[in-house]
Symmetry: C2
Subunit: 448 residues, 2 copies
């Protein structure tokens, strides 16, 4: 039994309209607000009122295919979170940005701003971006192979960590009379030279409240897990069963411990997409209602993006064609593809059944039930070594989150699993993570 | 005489502590707030209360030398302006970003966010970045030559214009019943292939309120002028005399007209740094007080950055050594270097006199006087073909701007030279600029 004195983490993963791919067609959805910043600020304020740890934004630097079928727009997360930062005061702000398509020096400046502006609430979801259409937006003829993307990512994290550390915490002097603003001996050119990057100077601003943004990671392939074990302070992961989540949890925490890290300094957060109603039957009916809005042409294109398998023209009500799985060679989304194939194999699904299973949250755990049932699941996963909390992915927004905040969060609170109020002003504080020292300050102390 | 029915443009150029290099040491300065976003939000609110057109932020992706001597920190402008956007409702938001060190696809997303979040108030100050220490932060062994930077800049502007145009204005359908979010025939992969960039896809979000941010430019070299005449909708420029400003104004507007552009669609805005007091003597005394806080070691390093000439060790009170000018070979900041040499030649300055002249606003026009005198200068320049308005660079902040807003702006208003209130909600509206059609929509109409 995992120690339960430490409370669960709950993030709100915001996706315009909701996470169910057809949610935007649901009566209460507001797809016309997908570019309206107040839609997102309102959601973040609700999440803050419920004392959640953070809001979370996915991203990729390309317009998704099939925009015809839904508001799959992608506002740039760091600017979006900056506008949310100004409208809130406590909630964490986690944004996704790609190590494959940013220059480290530009990215550090953006996140340093977010951390300064928010008073220490920034988190960076580190992704390598597998989508090929992103490569085409950056002059590349094809995406880089998986292993090479992770090699670049590791060096990228090394570079940006140095940059965020380049001003020691006590570098500022601000002595008007003496005319000294900063102690230059405590500001360090990083002098990084590596296979992917050469970066010489220090950051353009003093160190931010958290030192570095919280490092979040979402890859679950072997390379992704090993990267996460080394660098991640929170992990967003997809599991259909508690057993799968437990195996992942044990593996990543063990890998982290083997690297000399404290396993408590990694928060493992599966996605959960809950349909909530006062009876289980009503919750299932709600799910059915939204499932009925699914557009198979879109779902099949999504499945092709995840797995590389194109089911256009197949009978939706026939069993998923096993030979396509047998012939499949693994590509980018390896762990998600595996999850989908496991689903097909273990449950013998038809194509229509599979796309309904994936429509809810793209492979994340979808559940329909009463508030108590949802709370039971969260408790079961969160107290038995399957999760340190969850990334909550409401099927539709904003109503799907309202139900979670009003009915599930209070139960978790009664059970002593979730905070009554914030006890910290930073995301590191909410997550129970240490604030890293500047590596340059440490180096100086060691050599002194 | 230029048409005066069109009113003057006034921007507030924000620089932490103020534009005078020693202002942060002045009693009323608040250098400890240089990373406090509320300092900037407060200034922007004051500028908005005075009905100014925009706030303006400079930038370069490197920490300036000699940070010891003053708060020359550089918060990333787009995030900073996003936080300001949320705290204001009308004022324009102009941020500097470098075409040499950004990927076009990343930059368009950031400015599209700012324009969406602000409801159409974004402006982009397009710079090529001459500082060598920026190149070292992006893996380059040296800065690119001036001409090559401008070639890349021109293609960069071409690419980002296509991306900002990639969604036609009426691409959104949002029909829940039919399941159609967007009309894909009105969203265009840009398919750009050029010597510097290959970018295939469309932007990740619908077209922003202004279509494109306002294009601002600040280069005054021949290459800079020619670039500005082609692309700029506002130009930030440095002149020590009305004659120099008039020559520049006539040249750029003529070049624009020769390219088939409407010269009224370029706002030419010299910098002005005014010391304001109720008598001219008091204003001069104020200037003297702040000049007395100058640290020559810093000024000499600034001068070296501008001109490449290192005066360390020279007698500050001896005439500027003419042989150093004679031996000089032009580098990056060509137009600013020329301005400095002209100053030395025409006025026979000592080194100390020169650094005092430059300390105020790095070569921009510095003046001390009564509110009436300042207003007279602005009127003279702004109604005689020298300027369409000014980038106001208060010597110290926030007090230096308070005096301008409280005492100079009302005089300009009385004279019919400046708006009583906003008549538009966008920066394009404030500047009297048209909203560009999407080039793809135009192409379709032409071919129809």
């Amino acid at each position: 039994m995992t120690d339960t004195r430490r409370q669960l983490t709950l993030n709100l993963f915001i996706y315009p309209g909701g996470h169910h791919e057809a949610a935007w067609r649901y009566l209460a959805a507001e797809p016309e607000r997908a570019l309206d910043i107040t839609y997102y600020q309102d959601l973040a304020r609700k999440a803050e009122a419920a004392k959640l740890d953070a809001v979370f934004f996915a991203d990729g630097p390309a317009l998704p295919d099939k925009i015809r079928f839904g508001p799959r727009v992608r506002p740039e997360p760091i600017t979006w979170l900056t506008a949310i930062a100004v409208a809130t005061s406590r909630i964490g702000l986690i944004g996704t940005a790609s190590t494959s398509y940013y220059e480290p020096y530009n990215l550090v400046r953006l996140f340093a701003s977010l951390d300064h502006i928010s008073g220490g609430r920034a988190g960076w979801n580190i992704v390598t971006t597998s989508a090929e259409n992103a490569a085409f937006n950056f002059g590349q003829p094809a995406q880089q192979p998986h292993a090479e993307r992770y090699q670049r990512a590791a060096e990228f994290v090394d570079v940006v960590s140095k940059l965020w550390d380049s001003w020691e915490d006590d570098a500022l002097v601000i002595d008007k009379a003496a005319g000294i603003y900063a102690d230059e001996t405590r500001i360090h050119d990083i002098e990084h030279i590596g296979p992917h990057f050469r970066v010489k100077g220090a950051l353009t601003v003093p160190r931010s409240p958290q030192g570095r943004p919280v490092y979040v990671q979402a890859g679950s392939s072997p390379a992704g897990r090993s990267f996460a074990a080394r660098y991640a302070e929170a992990i967003f992961t997809a599991h259909q069963t508690i057993d799968s989540a437990r195996a992942f949890y044990a593996d990543v925490k063990a890998q982290a411990a083997a690297l000399g890290r404290d396993p408590d300094h990694i928060r493992i957060l599966p996605g959960i997409s809950p349909f909530i109603a006062s009876t289980e039957a009503e919750a299932r009916q709600l799910q059915q209602e939204i499932d009925d809005l699914i557009q198979p042409a879109y779902s099949i294109s999504q499945l092709r993006d995840f797995t590389g398998i194109d089911l256009t023209g197949y009978d939706l009500d026939a069993p998923f064609p096993q030979h396509l799985i047998d012939q499949h060679t693994t590509r980018g989304h390896t762990s998600r593809t595996q999850l989908i194939f496991d689903l097909v194999r273990s449950e013998g699904l038809t194509i229509r059944q599979l796309i309904r299973r994936l429509a809810g949250a793209r492979g994340h755990y979808v559940v329909a039930g009463t508030p108590e049932q949802i709370a039971d699941i969260i408790e079961a996963w969160g107290t038995s070594g399957a999760a340190d909390g969850f990334n909550v992915m409401p099927p539709w927004l904003t109503g799907g989150f309202d139900r979670f905040a009003e009915h599930v969060v209070p139960i978790l609170r009664q059970r002593g699993l979730f905070r009554e109020d914030y006890t910290s002003t930073t995301l590191r504080g909410h997550f129970g993570l240490p604030r890293p020292d500047s590596q340059f300050a440490t180096a100086l102390r060691k050599s002194a």
